[in-house]
């Protein structure tokens, strides 16, 4: 897949970037000029859920991206949750995030969810978390990567039942661990045999305050819900208006389709605005009440010693009926169960799996080239390692790079496609120039058919490199980068 161009529009301001199909460097002398944002825009443009950066809210921008992919040449326009894909005269529309997999299936040529869900972690390395993400963790936002799942996907093996079971066991385990902590604390209180009869606050005030806070919470939730619906309806309206449809009335008059002419739309807006006003007023009034009660309780609190809160907590804890021994037994049992399921998943992943061997071989090859043998136990299971603590920043940086290249090769062999390689700030803080050059040599030599997009405050010696130097604003008015 190759990003041919990306056009960004925010209100009246637009900017277009025409990318080279080989190497692209997004460069600025200083940080905070929008390099990371631009890379994230590329991912956002092809449907990924990407968190906003400090200065730009993605959902307020329209992206228009031309791509060369398995489907041929396509144009993808994204506006908030709507994604339109144009190919020749055909147009498809996807509602995000629900239909993102459908679009990615076409884009990457696979329906395998394990591959699709882990693909971003193979070809994109985020500035913040990417260079420490080796085989499991967060790629960016809510996009995660798990090596086991990628390998299962690449080898067409299915572990969805085991994965579901694992999640359920982990949820239970977390609850029982909390319960066990409470039980231990309870035992400690009982051992101290402290007097648990305390002076009490004005319980009526406390109760009233709790009720008010509960009400405030549910009203806030309702307000949030209504705001979301308003946003969604506005997006829908914008989407319709953007199409500039005109319809013909029976008298021949042409009527543009917009918020004023869509039947019932204004009513929908008015009723939601009224609801929001009413709820906001209700919330303000409850908050005023809460403030009043807060003042009363804080006055009361100053009359009691600070231990009172701890005592009250202890009193409540000691009132729980928890059998620590039973909870402990359940925790142990659940831990065993979790280990068993994990082993089953790993076994299903590893067992006689050529993909594991291929990934391992690629890692080994590049590890040798980047002088990493002594830092890695170069045996096959190392690709599943979770021991990253012993590695220094620079070493981990290089190992991550090597792993990513191995993932990319494995994905490409399976899907018969070329992925873009998007690296945000590959130089890192602790990496010297010699190492960077070696990394770039590998890209130059073995990934010539991949489009490479790098953002950095440094320049690199890569063949056919197109440089985009960013100024002060990522999106100026009517600016094109060609």
């Amino acid at each position: 897949m190759i990003f041919k161009s990306l056009k960004l529009t925010e209100g009246m301001a637009t900017k277009k970037f025409d990318f080279s199909s080989s190497v692209n460097l997004i460069y600025s002398e200083k940080n905070s000029k929008g390099k990371t944002t631009l890379l994230r825009f590329l991912l956002y443009a092809i449907g990924y859920a990407i968190p906003n950066t400090k200065n730009i809210k993605f959902e307020k921008c329209i992206t228009e991206c031309e791509l060369e992919c398995e489907m041929g040449s396509i144009k993808v326009i994204r506006q908030n949750d709507y994604l339109e894909v144009f190919q020749a005269s055909e147009k498809r529309t996807y509602i995000l995030p629900h239909e993102v997999d459908d679009f990615h299936s076409l884009l990457f040529g696979t329906h395998n969810k394990d591959i699709l869900n882990n693909l971003l972690g193979t070809f994109y390395v985020d500035q913040e978390k990417g260079w420490t993400l080796l085989n499991r963790g967060t790629v960016i936002g809510k996009n995660h990567f798990t090596i086991e799942h990628l390998i299962l996907g690449l080898s067409d093996r299915d572990c969805s039942e085991l994965t579901k079971e694992l999640k359920s066991v982990e949820r239970e385990l977390s609850k029982f661990r909390q319960m066990f902590n409470v039980a231990q604390y309870q035992a400690e209180i009982n051992e101290r045999k402290e007097n648990l009869v305390f002076e009490e606050h004005d319980e009526a005030v406390q109760r009233q305050l709790e009720i008010l806070k509960f009400d405030a919470k549910s009203i806030s939730d309702e307000l949030k819900r209504i705001n979301n619906v308003i946003d969604e309806n506005t997006s829908f309206k914008n989407y319709i208006e953007k199409m500039k449809i005109r319809v013909m009335a029976s008298n021949g008059e042409e009527i543009p389709v917009n918020k004023n002419t869509i039947v019932d739309f204004q009513d929908n807006v008015e009723i939601l605005v009224a609801k929001r006003r009413m709820i906001t007023a209700e919330l303000s009034s409850i908050k005023r009440e809460i403030n009043k009660f807060d003042k009363v309780t804080s006055l009361q609190e100053t009359l009691f010693k600070t231990e009172t809160l701890i005592q009250s907590f202890d009193k409540n804890i000691s009132a729980f009926e928890i059998d620590a021994a039973t909870v402990d037994r359940i925790v142990t049992k659940l831990e065993h169960e979790r280990t068993k399921i994990k082993k089953a998943i790993t076994a299903a992943t590893k067992l006689n799996n050529q993909i594991v061997t291929d990934i391992y071989n690629t890692i080994k090859k590049y590890a040798v080239e980047l002088d990493l043998e002594k830092n890695m136990n170069l045996w096959q299971d190392y690709i599943f390692t979770d021991d990253l603590k012993s590695l220094s920043g620079a070493i981990l940086h290089k190992i991550v790079f090597v792993f990513k290249l191995a993932y990319i090769k494995a994905v490409q062999d399976k899907l018969k496609i070329h992925l873009p390689i998007i690296l945000d700030s590959p130089s890192g803080r602790e990496l010297d120039k010699a190492n960077i050059d070696k990394m770039m040599d590998i890209l130059n030599r073995d990934f010539r058919k991949n489009q490479i997009i790098i953002s950095s405050i440094f320049t690199y010696s890569l063949d056919n490199m197109k440089v985009f130097e960013l100024g002060d604003l990522l999106i100026d008015e009517y600016t094109n980068y060609r």
């Binding site: 619906v229 019932d264 739309f265 008015e270 009723i271 605005v273 009224a274 609801k275 009413m278």
Partner: protein, 344 residues
């Protein structure tokens, strides 16, 4: 910033603040009553306007100007004539405006002319045009305006409106206002009850806020008054809801509570509700009286694809979907009905 003024427009000492606040309260509630009295033709209202205490713009571009004067104790008639004089002086100026349609003196005194003999004419909540005033009252008005430096008040446009409004017991104070609101709600939706109090409180808050804005061009539009009422009507229990023909009341109640957010989201999402309304409009029932139920029973499955609650019994899903469709249609009818009745 809120400027406290006495009835004559002069600054008051803080000791009189409670009397002033009482005056404000009356003015705000009087504005609600006047707005509802004129709801068909009113377009917007401003409390504490440029020239008068209450200014209502009508849909024909004309204006209704009102002076609101209150007394804290309804048995105290010592200042009522002064108040009347001050009100007529100001209204006389307003009368010069070419857009003036009506001039209303609104008060809570049962003896607005300081004349015990004419009191019987102002018993309870009364509205009187100049020509219907007792002779003595008409003479009082004429004498006052004759002595004004600019005698421009057109008595044909002059009305007196007495709204009982007294005591510190809020329930008692707002009794007449509440009745006016209840009557209005009944007039637009006869089969609904119990929302008058909420509507009154919302409007009191809105009118108070409006009165405190120093920018007098900030008005309350009729639609801003009516849409909260539509929300309250939609949320209140619906007697004889057609869906009860196909669903137990207990089921309806329980599912409406349990799936409240989901139901509201679907009803409020325009892309979903517009589909239902459009299909509903196109639907030709065998019997117009049972159109809604026929439509729900025959067409609920059409929307099933857009609606899937994970792990929930299909029968429950069906019921929730039917409730959503019913609510969308009910809301549509309600909005059309109210808009038509109040001309928005």
């Amino acid at each position: 910033m809120l400027t406290i003024k006495d009835d004559g427009g002069e600054k008051m000492s803080s000791s009189n603040a409670s009397a002033t606040l009482f005056g404000w309260d009356f003015q705000i509630n009087a504005a609600i009553v006047l707005m509802l009295d004129n709801i068909q033709i009113a377009e917007q209202v401003r409390v504490e306007g440029d020239t008068e205490d209450i200014e209502i713009k009508l849909s024909n571009g004309k204006m209704l100007y009102s002076q609101a004067k209150s007394v804290e104790k309804s048995t105290d008639y010592s200042h009522v004539k002064d108040k009347l004089k001050k009100a007529l002086t100001t209204l006389s100026t307003a009368s010069e405006n070419p857009d003036c349609d009506k001039l209303i003196y609104v008060t809570n005194s049962p003896n607005p002319f300081g004349d015990k003999k004419s009191m019987a004419a102002f018993y309870g909540h009364t509205r009187k045009a100049f020509k219907n005033l007792p002779d003595t009252c008409r003479t009082t008005v004429e004498n006052i305006i004759d002595n004004l430096p600019n005698n421009t008040l057109d008595t044909d446009k002059f009305h007196v409106h007495v709204i009982p409004f007294e005591t510190d017991d809020m329930k008692e104070r707002y009794k007449v206002i509440k009745t006016v609101v209840d009557d209005f709600v009944f007039s637009v939706k006869p089969n609904l009850s119990g929302i008058g109090q909420q509507a009154m409180e919302i409007w009191q808050k809105d009118f108070f806020e409006n009165a405190t804005l120093s920018d007098t061009s900030k008005t309350i539009k009729k639609k801003e008054l009516i849409w909260p009422l539509i929300v309250l009507m939609y949320d209140s229990n619906v007697p004889n809801n057609p869906i009860l023909e196909i669903m137990d009341e207990s089921d309806l109640y329980e599912l409406t509570i349990k799936y409240k957010d989901l139901i509201n989201n679907k009803v409020e999402r325009f892309d979903f509700s517009t589909k239902i309304i459009s299909d509903y409009k196109d639907y030709k029932p065998t019997n117009m009286k049972t159109k809604t139920i026929e439509f729900i029973n025959l067409h609920w499955l059409d929307y099933k694809d857009e609606f899937d609650i994970d792990g929930v019994d299909p029968l429950i899903q069906e019921k929730v979907l039917k409730i959503i469709i019913d609510n969308i249609i009910r809301q549509k009818y309600l909005i059309s009905d109210i808009k038509k009745k109040v001309c928005i």
